[in-house]
């Protein structure tokens, strides 16, 4: 156990109050009797693996509960997350599907005509809908819904564009799954971490990953076998990521599904053949140093990847690169002032190709330690032009933090500008605008506003929809 910080006066008072409050629960009892009662009440399971064949008994229920504990806040993070299927068919007004208070809504691309299409029945034990994604043909929506049971027991509802349920794909308790429609709109890749989350709680290991291809017709369902050593990062701290790190994205040509997994203790992006024939690490595409590729996006034609992270030629994680998806040279560009300045820590992340593939929207983060213990954390949204290699900062936001004695930074509550949420940027079909999520300040719950901005940087942003927990945007022909 690490040392805790000394309690402040209120914490001391609260500790005393809580102990007083809970005093009625403390009863004198003989520990030996309690121990014998417990020992007599159940048979021993021994090693964890021995419990699984028991079936859905109390032991399994408890395993699920433990799993639920681990993913509790991953669920909260999922509430604030947006799947990343940004359909790039030209023209059309665009339609947004978004989650608000656990219910599913659709709206026009400008935020008008907000319509409830499905209730998630959220209550104090169910979170309702978490995320949603349009199919590329805009005829269907896939939506993750917490259906109760163990703490987070997700199901994926496949429904028509007006909310008529086609089928529900039931999933084991685990983390909030990620969704990615196949390019032909026939099935959804569902990334899950269902089975071994409990091991994370009990044994301190990371969770496994599952990849299910679920069709509108259940007969088309197929599970892709992933290497056993692949581990999920889904129980990572939801405070620091917006979209679940358990992340899947289908390539535009339908051949590959990109996933993020931990392999041999190293996090990275991996490509999984959609036909189940194999996998390969994205880092194989580049000469890797350090942590390698942290986030990526497929170009519209599927031939290139926009990658963000660090590699040879750019040792810090401040680089955006474009690389042939079959391998080749990387064009890397350093945009942050952070390299070489020990007081600045910057990175680039979550690139998003424009519909024409000529530009990339990318987020930047910069932490300024020069005035410790005061720390300023800045988020920027950039438009990067591949032809000119120029970055244009479109918007940014700064939040102030204070380092505490334990080495963590506590937000002071002071925010200026727009804190753009990573992984939630969508291009409009004409490539002229970007939609993105901004954390609503002064609101402790996970709530965001969808805003839009001119991708050329020629305008201020405008509000599209407020009070959103996640969104996806699609554009019809």
């Amino acid at each position: 156990m690490t040392e805790r910080n000394p309690m402040d006066p209120f914490e001391t008072r609260l500790t005393a109050l809580v102990r007083n409050y809970t005093e009625p629960a403390v009863k004198l009892s003989d520990p030996l009797v309690t121990a014998r009662t417990a020992m007599a009440s159940t048979t021993r399971g021994g090693a964890l693996g021995q419990l699984w064949p028991v079936g859905l008994n109390r032991g399994l229920a408890w395993l699920l509960l433990l799993a639920a504990l681990v993913i509790a806040l991953a669920a909260l993070a999922a509430v604030g997350s947006g799947p990343s299927i940004f359909v790039q068919a030209p023209d059309g007004p665009g339609r947004i599907v978004f989650v608000r208070d656990g219910d599913l809504f659709v709206a026009e691309g400008d935020g008008s005509g907000q319509t409830l299409i499905a209730s998630g029945d959220a209550d104090d034990v169910k979170l309702g809908y978490l995320t949603a994604a349009w199919s590329p043909d805009m005829r269907h929506i896939a939506a993750v819904r917490d259906v109760g049971g163990a703490f987070l027991t997700p199901g994926v509802d496949l429904m028509t564009a007006d909310g008529a349920l086609v089928r529900t794909v039931a999933l084991d308790a685990g983390c909030g799954p990620s969704l990615s429609w196949s390019p032909d709109s026939s099935k959804v890749a569902i990334g899950t971490c269902p089975a071994d989350v409990l091991r994370d709680a009990i044994e301190g290991v990371e969770s496994g990953i599952g990849l299910l291809l679920a069709g509108l017709d259940a007969s088309a369902d197929r599970e892709i076998a992933l290497p056993r050593e692949w581990q999920s990062v889904a129980s990572a701290n939801p405070e620091v990521w917006i979209r679940p790190d358990l992340w899947a994205r289908w390539s535009p040509d339908g051949r590959w599904i990109a996933l993020w997994a931990i392999v041999a203790g190293q996090g990275g992006r991996h490509l999984v053949a959609a036909d189940g024939s194999g996998t390969r690490p994205v880092d194989d595409l580049i000469i890797r140093m350090g942590n390698g590729v942290e986030s990526l996006d497929w170009s519209p034609d599927g031939r290139r990847l926009a990658i963000a992270g660090g590699w040879v030629g750019c040792m810090e994680k401040v680089c955006l690169g474009i690389v042939d998806s079959e391998g080749g040279a990387v064009t890397s560009t350093v945009v942050h002032p952070s390299p070489g300045d020990l007081n600045l820590h910057g990175k680039l992340f979550w690139p998003e190709f424009s519909p024409e593939g000529d530009r990339v929207a990318v987020l930047g983060g910069l932490i300024d330690f020069s005035s410790e213990p005061a720390v300023a954390e800045t988020y920027m949204l950039y438009d990067y032009d591949l032809a000119t290699a120029r970055f244009t900062e479109l918007t940014s936001g700064i939040r102030s933090m204070i380092w505490d004695g334990g080495g963590a930074a506590q937000p002071t509550g002071t925010v200026t500008g727009e804190l753009v949420a990573g992984g939630t940027v969508a291009w409009t079909p004409d490539g002229r605008g970007l939609l993105y999520l901004v954390r609503e300040t002064g609101n402790s719950s996970a709530s965001w506003t969808i805003r839009s901005i001119d991708a050329a940087g020629g305008s201020q942003s405008s509000v599209i929809v407020e009070g959103v927990q996640s969104f996806d945007i699609g554009f019809s022909d």
Binding site: L17, V18, T22, A25, D30, P31, W62, L65, L73
Partner: protein, 180 residues
């Protein structure tokens, strides 16, 4: 039975657990003796119901007995027990669909209100407004006195994530308790 928490949580904890796993009821009873009070408190704090708390604690011990052998790190024993208890309390509450508002007995009014009792009522009201996750977090911190790292391991959070949440919760509770 007098057992030092420091002893069981210290360097011989592994040996005690090992013996308990092997079926030594005295070893298991030593673990019970050290931790049952905090477990009872946490179960009550999460559920707000004495009956549920008692059931949850006993159920947690049954689970502990069955699963103790899966605990790799003896240093995690306390955090694990508290986490199991909080979950069991929540599960029982959920299965029974019980309300979680604690009702304090109403005393005959006196000429001046008892400030301690008033504070307890304020706390009871404030706790009733917290969801089970936040109650668990408060319980693990201020009953079990776990540090942020240990809490984070049990809840799937980073230590900094725990601190942020606690910071927010404390602000909320302070506001509720200092409303007058």
């Amino acid at each position: 039975m007098i057992v030092s928490s420091a002893v069981v949580e210290g360097e011989i904890a592994g040996a005690v657990i090992e013996r308990a796993v092997a079926g030594d009821e005295m070893a298991f009873a030593r673990i019970v003796a050290v931790h049952h009070e905090d477990m009872a408190r946490i179960a009550y704090f999460v559920s707000g119901d004495l009956d549920v708390a008692a059931d949850a604690e006993q159920a947690a011990w049954a689970i502990t007995w069955r699963r103790l052998g899966t605990l790799r790190d003896p240093a995690r024993l306390k955090a694990w027990l508290m986490s199991v208890t909080a979950n069991e309390a929540r599960q029982i509450m959920r299965s029974q669909r019980r309300r979680t508002v604690r009702e304090l007995a109403v005393d005959v009014p006196t000429s001046s209100p008892d400030p301690d009792r008033s504070a307890l009522i304020d706390l009871a009201n404030a706790v009733a407004d917290l969801d089970h996750r936040d109650r668990t977090l408060i319980g693990l911190r201020y009953i079990a006195e776990l540090d942020s790292e240990a809490i984070g391991r049990e809840l799937g959070l980073s230590a900094s994530g725990v601190r942020v949440r606690l910071h927010r919760l404390l602000g909320r509770l302070q506001k509720d308790l200092d409303h007058d």
